[in-house]
Symmetry: D4
Subunit: 247 residues, 8 copies
């Protein structure tokens, strides 16, 4: 196609057509003929961070290659859902890389990211929800956010939650991570004014149906100000929280 466009430009250059003609012709170009435009670069700019590597179902050599590509550009690196065994192999190729074993996430900060405006608070209902919360933490951290963790403050013991009320009030955005009945975001939304990102977890058994119970509960949260991401999607919550925090 390029040749077709070059042709027009050349014709214009040679004076065979006027700028007005050229414009008219370009307008009538079907969509795909413009596909050379710098969409890709543009996208990198708008999203502000190179693609995060989703580790699941990728081989260590695939991941290593992409990771090295990202590092070459001087960017920060984040790999999520990465099994320890795969990490070990990557570590050999990228020795400086770190691993958050709870979150199953690897990362390497080459430059300090610009900080978001406020504090992101990450809360869990129970200790079993911590791995998902840590994925959110690692994500928020590498994207540049001040973070405070408040773990194990589920609704079964409201006093623990209220004991942290002072901190909660100061959050710009709150991520609530909970399995089982998933009631934490509803309760937190009732006592604060911050936007809340709710992450259901697959913690539980029986009629938790791998997180379905918590997911549905969160989607039906009575008080306004709550939105939900996929079950166990700590990354998604952290990413969105960071977007909001950088507004």
């Amino acid at each position: 196609m390029k040749s077709k466009l070059e042709d027009i430009l050349n014709k214009l250059h040679r004076g065979e057509i006027t700028p007005k003609n050229a414009l008219q012709i370009l307008k009538d170009f079907p969509y795909q003929d413009l596909s050379f435009a710098k969409i890709d670069h543009h996208r990198e700019i708008i999203r502000g961070f190179p693609e995060i590597i989703y580790g699941l179902g990728k081989t260590d050599s695939q991941i290593s290659k992409i990771a090295q590509e990202i590092l070459k550009k001087g960017s920060n690196l984040l790999i999520t859902k990465l099994e320890p065994s795969v990490f070990k192999k990557i570590k050999k190729k990228i020795p400086k890389i770190h691993y958050n074993a709870l979150a199953k996430a690897a990362y390497l900060k080459q430059k300090k990211p610009s900080l978001g405006k406020g504090k992101v608070i990450i809360m869990t209902a129970g200790t079993s929800d911590i791995p998902v919360a840590e994925e959110a933490f690692v994500t928020c951290d590498i994207l540049g956010n001040e973070i405070e963790k408040i773990y194990d403050v589920g609704v079964a013991g409201l006093h623990r939650l209220f004991g942290e009320y002072g901190k909660i009030k100061e959050a710009r955005i709150i991520i609530t991570v909970a399995g089982m009945e998933g009631a934490l975001p509803s309760v937190v939304a009732g006592i604060t004014n911050s936007p809340i990102i709710a992450v259901p977890t697959s913690i539980g058994y029986g009629a938790s149906f791998n997180g379905l119970a918590a997911l549905l509960a969160m989607l039906n949260s009575c008080p306004g100000g709550v939105a939900v991401v996929n079950i166990d999607n700590g990354f998604g919550a952290g990413y969105l929280a960071s977007l909001i925090n950088h507004l």
Copy 2:
């Protein structure tokens, strides 16, 4: 069969067999031959209340007949899930009957039931849950219980719930009625020591899936002490609460 039994009794009476023989023969009687036993009366005694009439899908004349039968025995009457239009027709035949329009339940107290030992508290998360709560109330009431209603104290506004903490503490049994995310029983179970009967309601829309969200949440309630009845089953909750309260 009776004749067979009579035969044995007669033989024993005539001395043709010994009591020991008779006993042996009776032992070998197959199960069904004993079906004349007073199972029915027995059951009425053990359950302590004549059958409650489930109004749904019955005609007014069917209901009226059963109701009149119950009333003749001097028993108290309770009809649940009764549409107003059906009630009107029954009212003509049983003029003294009352109707709780919210609960869609008709009742007639002929004698004062013996009171349960403590107080049953019936709570709702929202005002839309009240009809189900009222069904629980009507049931508890006719079965003889001191009842306190605490409505519209959902987790979205914990202050309303805590404002009632004094009353909640005094409950012998608590019925919590909630739709949407169904978090009320979890929160209440965290601040009290009473057994809690959780009633999910079909209140909500979208991913509440007609009460499924609340049902699952309640089944996954973190703190101990919570058991669940069917969606919108105020009667079941009230009946069980009364059983417990009369222990």
Copy 3:
């Protein structure tokens, strides 16, 4: 309680009460007081076969004990859902026992069961459905039935099915075993007059949802004459077929 009954019998014996009195008293006996009746023996007679041992979740020593008890009475033995490793241990204690490895069922015929009146045909849609079909076969066989197997005649190749039409016509009862779209019973019901027991299998992947697709299809079978048992329940199908065949 026995003493109470003995008491009555003794009184009757001593002439202190009449047979009519005794009868009256017995009639008023509450239900549970008659629990000594020979329910158990009776049940063994009506079901015509000692309890089949469901092997899943039982230890080899538990199974061996029950099995030996059954064998002592001279009865035939059937153990379903029995893993090969567990069978090996049982085999050491009961050397004569046989194992149908496809069906994962162990059995031992000590006496020839009375034969049902007609032929039971067991059909499968595919070869992967055969284990479930074999469980039906083993069950039918030990309960005394003439059986014909017609395997791998799914609706994707109707010619194979029609090639067996002659046999199909002669069936007294037909068991159809199929996974995936579960269409076999519908097609067979359309070309025969025998009662059909449909067994959905968990064969398939993706939207077969472990047999749910086949189960629903079979429950919605257009032509009359089809009833369905649980997914992978070859035993249930074989047992019911045998009951019908012995009518």
Copy 4:
């Protein structure tokens, strides 16, 4: 195609080919060339009853036409799932037709069907299950079966069930109709030796999910001898029962 076949027959008739040749040629005929065979008549014979009319979604004139066609042949007529309003219109065209309002089924017996060998017992757990049971009854009746109805004997009051034990024992086949927890077939299967057809009904509310609860319960019935038809499918149960009863 007929011409092709005629051609062969003519050639054979003229002695141009031998019977052996003709047979060989016919064998090689592709399948569809034989489609003129009297499949249809054959099917009427094997199923022993003209097609039952499924009334749902058909207009009164459509139904009347098919019905009159069936009646002309001297056959008995059965129309299921027929709304009263549609029946009224059909009644004008076929004045002798009867209507079972509970079953929403119309029928007309022109000849006495041959009776099945034993008795079909139709049981319901509650009174709300009766319409489905009546559909089974109407179906069994027109197909020629001795039927005994035992209604409202659900497991909540076992004494009522056991009161009918004498009758239950005499059944050749039992149809159990139940909604809600659907426990009736399990209990009946435990005390009898007859094949049981279980019909879940959509009776109930909330977590009955329109009969799903009863359906699943019945599919998981512990004791052998139970098979299940679609929710509310009284016709299917009656049809299958009749097939078995005529074996």
Copy 5:
């Protein structure tokens, strides 16, 4: 943005930049700056038919406006899922419009569409599936296809299906429409070589779960060559069939 582009063209025209420079600059244009390209026209060309109007949830005046717009361009018109009452109002504004009452579809052919290369066969399992089949028919027809309808040939009576084998063989594409157990496409795929588009319908009751049973069955179809569209989506099947037929 246009000005920016005009600027470049003008500069090139004036010889201030070379064609090579211009090309380089254009390459670096971010994506959105090219949005003036004639995507819209292009799309109209590639899809070959103006947008079909989905009637559900639109007012008669909304539909009339869009329809008149389409008609002005001389295009053919198709409106699906259109209630009779809404159609009547549209008819007043567009008197020439036709209505297929079964399909609930309105249409107006202004020009003869170019015909697809072969025959599209539309089959239904039952008479209740016909409305969905008619929607497929109307769609195929206005898009220019030779169509043959073969209705009421479900698997419960294979003879009816085989009676149409001659026609089936001649299909270029087959649309199979079926509710309940949804077995028709599997059977048809087993006896033909044409691509099959399977349309599950919401026909049935109980465990058909509004077409879910048929949908799952079709997705699990054993023989290759079957793809599935949404429940009751006659339009989608007809549209795809036409696309294939015009290849």
Copy 6:
């Protein structure tokens, strides 16, 4: 309890205890004794807006009372999910009230709310999604936000979406409303950097399962930056967007 507290304060006042003693005693106060604290007022402050009235299931007189209470305080009023017939009755009592018929929401602005920092863009995939989008609009509007609506830009015609790219880029927060396959938020998230609130709608039929398809799709959105609210929950999306926009 107050007396107990007063008692302490009095004792302190009288010098019978020291401030240190008083503090110690207060620390040991059990939780509920502090329930007089101004939780309620506090909550009104933190949430920044009086309770929004959820109209569903409330009578016109109930709503009118609450509404008048809110209006008396000089606050702005919002009533969601309000049927037109109920609105009419409320209108008589509160003549100045407005009604957004698409959104089924009533509102009355008494004071100008403080504006959020940026622009909220509300997009819909189709025209049928507009009612839900309008609910989001009404909510955002009364809470004080600059809003831009971009309706009917679903992924089936990407050119329409890209035609609005300029506007989309300028959004501070984006609300995407879509039914059917629910792909809009995924596509938008791929071309922008704003946080996205995805609202699945119940638009569609068949396997859309009343919005379940769109809900699941949105929860599984590939690109980061998307969170989801309940099906048809325009209010929830608008409320959260406003919270974020006021950060």
Copy 7:
């Protein structure tokens, strides 16, 4: 905050404000400022038992630490859902600890708990349900209850159930544990007057859907007096039974 409160107390002490003033100021304290209250101790008192340790997903060292903390206080210890391998490691640190291998629960009684008022009966339908029943047993036992176990009395053999009728009658509370069709609580509720806690188990296969069938059946239990806990939640049933038994 404390300083603010101290400040007030000091002012009062110094006579700068009156007790009435102080009270007024305290009343206006926002909620969170009171968070120092002894909620925690209070909660320990009301629940009467230190937190039970949910073993799943915790490391042996985490569990050991919490356990030792509990033991130091002289409390009794209960750890549920504890794998044998993890128990072994804990046993080394806490040699006196016991393990119920069936229940997968560890416990250590340091002091005799006060006994509940009556007898808790724990019933199972089959032998495979015993592990869940044992979890209920261990829980009830350490919380102080007289317990009677009645195992393997499922509805498939009612005679076994009735054989235990004498015991059943004496229960204050009954826990029924059942998988598959989950009919046990319905049957037991029909013959007794005690409150019944129903525990569905994941026992079964195919359409038991990991306990969903039993769960739904129990939620739809016809007779009143039944409430349900999560699938396999023996602990929850035992805990609630103990609460009721200590009323």
Copy 8:
């Protein structure tokens, strides 16, 4: 039956009946008597390819036998869903066989298949979808199709998709393979005119519910021209694409 047919042919041969008589008699032959017809051969011809071997659940010796049978006839061989360990054993018996490790498919081309008329394009949304795409590729390839693969062009980065627009335009049929939100086919259908076969994959976690989310999204695809096969069914998509491409 053959004898009966022979009998007729012989009679005709001997002149005892006329050809017209013979034809009449044959017409009245019941269906099954014609089962000897060459259905099987016919089917092989119409489907144009010997049965593809579905490897799952078959032993290596079973597969080897069928494979060798197919190879003997000179046909091409395709085995799908074949585990590497099973392949190794087959490789020993059929050394020339190839294995596509990603697709888990073995194949052997003995003759060049006739090519379809156009190009089949196989697209994936992500790299994790590639195994399913490769199964489609292997299938299309051995059935004779020109294929172009366009992998990892999911909607999260539309620029990658549009970068391939030139190729996409040239497709005769497009297979789109996608997990998670499954939006790819909707987007592609919006920019092209080719029939699209959508393959949902089980890629994802949480609320992807093993591919259900993608499946539902694809079934609800807005633009026409999309049909769906089972989750992970690369073979089905490839087979159908090839059928269409050979039209």
